[in-house]
Amino acid sequence: MPYLSGLPLPEPHVDYEEFWRGCKNNRLVIQRCDDCGWYRHHPRPLCPKCRSWNARWTEVSGKGTVWSYTIITHPINPAVKDQTPYNLVEIELVEQEGLRMISNLIDCKNEEIYTGMPVKVVFEEISPEITLPRFKKTSFQKNFL
């Protein structure tokens, strides 16, 4: 049972397919500039730092911290009717300051979530085509960095 269901899923698109292919293979891959090494998410054609066209899909550790979060308590959107409350987190990955992505924390009570909480990616298959990256709490102790 996925954490949230019935939501619009990513549609296939040339700029983003590597990311989703990675997820399908249980790998978190982020676009990284081949020249200056800057990670960028979401993917885009050019490196905003050095304007290089060269980029490589690079597997990252999947470790990060909760940069911010919210608990959606009121189903403003009909798509999440009967699914509230749910958490929505913005994760900052350890690879780079400001490298952030949107996800959810699973196996975690909403009250337990805090800003700065260490987390690690897990993958949840939603459909034969789409696997979503979600996150689980972890601890700083286990060789976090």
Binding site: H13, V14, D15, R44, P45, L46, C47, R51
Partner: protein
């Protein structure tokens, strides 16, 4: 009235290679936009951070956030034109206005298009199913099966045919001339595909009297131009191409019947209104125009636009196309020397502006000798826009 005449210039142009839905490019619309814009920046001898404004087409999903993200730039002016192909030159016009008003220094006007990736088949059908019917003013036309610009243009053509005696052959003259031009342009999609009048006549009927080759292509690609003030333009890498006039034109329609070809008045259509505004601002007339970059979604509208801009009288557009008058290199008014939307690529008319600039720099693939003044127009039959360029 004070105006922007000669106050701004195009200092950079960029374009990508072109594909079509049958021979798609692998790049996304986003990538194509960045390619064309970066090429224009380089052409101008600028750095990305110099760009502080963007104007895009309303159907273009490359909003300023995308561009700021990818190009790493800060923008202080941005906007989008309206009414699809009618808004191409409006992008250039608004860019010029923003520069002239001191709102930005270097404004990019661009169009990126990926019809192979972005136009989902059955897109309309699924939305109608979701909504339970045809919404808004489209309810006046779509239930009757009028749902594409080509069909609307066909209705206009039937009126033009009946009123003025225009023929398929006349429309064919336009298509054939432009194909000849594309055969000069290695980047044109139909570069190595010649076309005769017979080929044209044998192309399948889409919506009578419009044939396949009366219609623009469905393309992948992007074009971009950079506009700045005439003072700044003088110090840059390329010879400046001045914007003599820029304007919007058209009719105030009773409703936003976007897919209905709205020419109820063949005498004074959108392009007629545009022509008045452009010629007045530039202080020139049709005789001064040496290259005609006329928006060509459909041949019939090229014909109407030529009439409305006074190259011939109303109703005489048909015979005006005869005798190779529109053909490079010897015709008296070379039409869309790059091949245009019909035969170069359908970059929504931004390719016309790019070729116009290249003509004035003397670097066009089908170079019109000593071209000094170029007219570029956007789509007729919708609220439209245009620019007059000079070197």
């Amino acid at each position: 009235m004070d105006s922007i005449k000669d106050k701004t210039a195009i200092v950079g142009v960029g374009w990508t290679r072109y594909g079509s839905i049958k021979k798609p490019l692998p790049e996304s619309q986003y990538t194509l936009a960045c390619q064309a814009i970066m090429a224009a920046i380089e052409d101008a001898g600028l750095a990305p951070k110099d760009v502080d404004g963007v104007m895009r087409f309303n159907f273009d999903s490359n909003d300023p956030v995308r561009l700021a993200h990818s190009l790493g730039i800060n923008l202080k002016f941005f906007g989008k034109s309206m009414y699809g192909g009618g808004g191409g030159c409006a992008c250039v016009a608004q860019a010029a206005a923003a520069v002239y008003a001191g709102m930005a220094d270097y404004v990019v006007a661009f169009r990126a298009i990926s019809e192979s990736q972005e136009v989902a088949l059955g897109h309309f059908a699924s939305q109608f199913a979701q909504l339970g019917g045809i919404p808004g003013s489209m309810g006046w036309i779509m239930p009757f099966g009028l749902m594409s610009p080509a069909q609307g243009a066909a209705i206009t053509a039937s009126t033009h045919f009946s009123r003025y005696g225009t023929t398929s052959q006349h429309m064919g003259n336009i298509a054939v001339a432009q194909r000849k031009h594309a055969n000069q342009n290695p980047n044109a999609f139909f570069y190595d595909h010649p076309m005769t009048m017979e080929d044209y006549m044998n192309s399948p009927m889409i919506a009578e009297p419009l044939r396949l080759f009366d219609c623009c292509q469905e393309s992948d690609g992007a074009c971009a131009v950079i506009v700045t003030s005439e003072e700044r333009a003088r110090d840059l890498k390329q010879p400046p191409v001045y914007i003599m006039a820029a304007a919007q034109g058209g009719l105030w329609y009773p409703n936003s019947m976007n897919l209905l070809d709205k020419i109820a008045d063949l005498e004074k259509d959108e392009s007629w209104h545009l022509a008045q505004a452009l010629y007045e601002m530039a202080g020139i007339g049709p005789r001064d125009v040496e290259v005609a970059e006329i928006y060509d979604h459909f041949t019939i509208h090229v014909l109407c636009t030529l009439e409305s801009f006074g190259f011939c009288k109303k109703g005489e557009g048909g015979p005006f196309t005869e005798g190779g008058r529109l053909e490079w290199p010897d015709g008296e008014l070379p039409l869309n020397p790059s091949g245009g939307n019909l035969s170069e690529a359908y970059i929504h008319g931004m390719n016309h502006v790019v070729d116009g600039v290249r003509q004035l720099r003397g670097t066009a693939p089908a170079q019109v000798k000593d071209a000094d003044i170029v007219l570029c127009t956007s789509g007729n039959a919708v609220p439209t826009s245009g620019v007059i360029l000079r070197r």
